[in-house]
């Protein structure tokens, strides 16, 4: 039994809608590298501060990392259109970055900057941003990172300086470096799958 031409045309239209919706949702974005970049920046700042330049280490490294990220994003600029999901994600991370920078800058200006407070604030803010992002993306692995950051923030309230430093280094390693590399691998696999289906 053969379908008539009109029926074939209707099916063709339905297939066209499905394929165009899939095409529109295909993204070339990759954000795993930003986690790695910031993880490395934190390590550089910690190492620099441990050499006795704590006043300069954090602000200079953070500003340098922000500028570097801005340059890399502009170099990687693509023509993917804006989506509500993309804007929601950007909103979370931009809001976190601005809040973190503002409060840490104010603390250092006031002379009330203290390592435990610093780690507690960074842990709480990164926990908040990772949790928000993971809930939107329904990504359990990122929520696990949020829990690690919250644990780090709590530990900063109770631990000694050495203990807090250790916890902070471990949190950076797992939630920035390892998670970032995992994210990059996931994105690369997704792009290969999309290319295969194209």
């Amino acid at each position: 039994m053969h379908a008539n031409p009109e029926e074939l045309e209707l099916k063709d239209r339905l297939n066209l809608i499905e394929s165009m919706i899939a095409e529109g949702r295909r993204k070339t974005e990759s954000w795993g590298w930003t986690f790695v970049l910031w993880g490395v920046a934190y390590y550089v700042a910690i190492a620099w501060a441990s050499l006795g330049h704590s006043n300069l280490a954090w602000p200079v490294t953070m500003i340098a990392a922000s500028i570097l990220m801005g340059i890399l994003i502009s170099l990687r600029a693509h023509k993917d259109p804006e989506t509500t999901l993309g804007r929601a994600m950007a909103a979370i991370w931009i809001a976190m970055g601005v809040s973190l920078f503002t409060i840490l800058f104010a603390l250092s200006l006031s002379g009330r900057f203290e390592f435990h407070v610093f780690v507690a604030i960074v842990g709480a803010f990164l926990g908040c941003a990772n949790a928000g992002s993971s809930i939107i993306l329904k990504w359990k692995m990122q929520f696990a990172c949020a829990v690690v950051w919250w644990a780090c923030a709590v530990a900063a309230c109770f631990g000694s300086e050495n203990q807090v430093t250790g916890v902070f280094l471990v949190a950076i390693f797992f939630c920035q470096i390892v998670f970032g590399i995992y994210g990059m691998m996931r994105e690369a696999r997704k792009q290969r799958q999309d290319a295969a289906h194209a």
Partner: protein, 100 residues
């Protein structure tokens, strides 16, 4: 036998249908992105987008970004409604064709 629905001729055009489907997935899209996704020529794409704009299914915004002209297209509520109705009508017709 129930009356079969008619398909909206503005939406039914192959390229216009592709454009509305693409625009339904994003907030707004550049002309160049739509061209790359549909593989259409500039002239044909511009003409079909104009028809969609005249029907009120697509809104256009022209602006300059870093001194370069940029044309952004956004699906309107009317466009979203028209696409939804079209898909429903299509499914109804296909259902009718399969049982008929």
């Amino acid at each position: 036998m129930p009356d079969l629905p008619e398909l909206n001729p503005v939406v039914h055009g192959k390229l216009r249908l592709a454009l509305l489907s693409l625009l339904s997935t994003v907030e707004e899209a550049e002309f160049t992105w739509l061209r790359s996704k549909t593989g259409s020529t500039d002239g044909n794409l511009g003409a079909q987008l104009l028809k969609l704009e005249e029907a009120g299914y697509v809104a256009v915004e022209k602006k300059f970004v870093q001194r370069k002209p940029q044309t952004l297209y956004r699906m309107t509520e009317a466009g979203r409604g028209a696409l939804t109705e079209y898909v429903q009508a299509l499914k109804q017709l296909l259902g009718g064709a399969m049982t008929g």
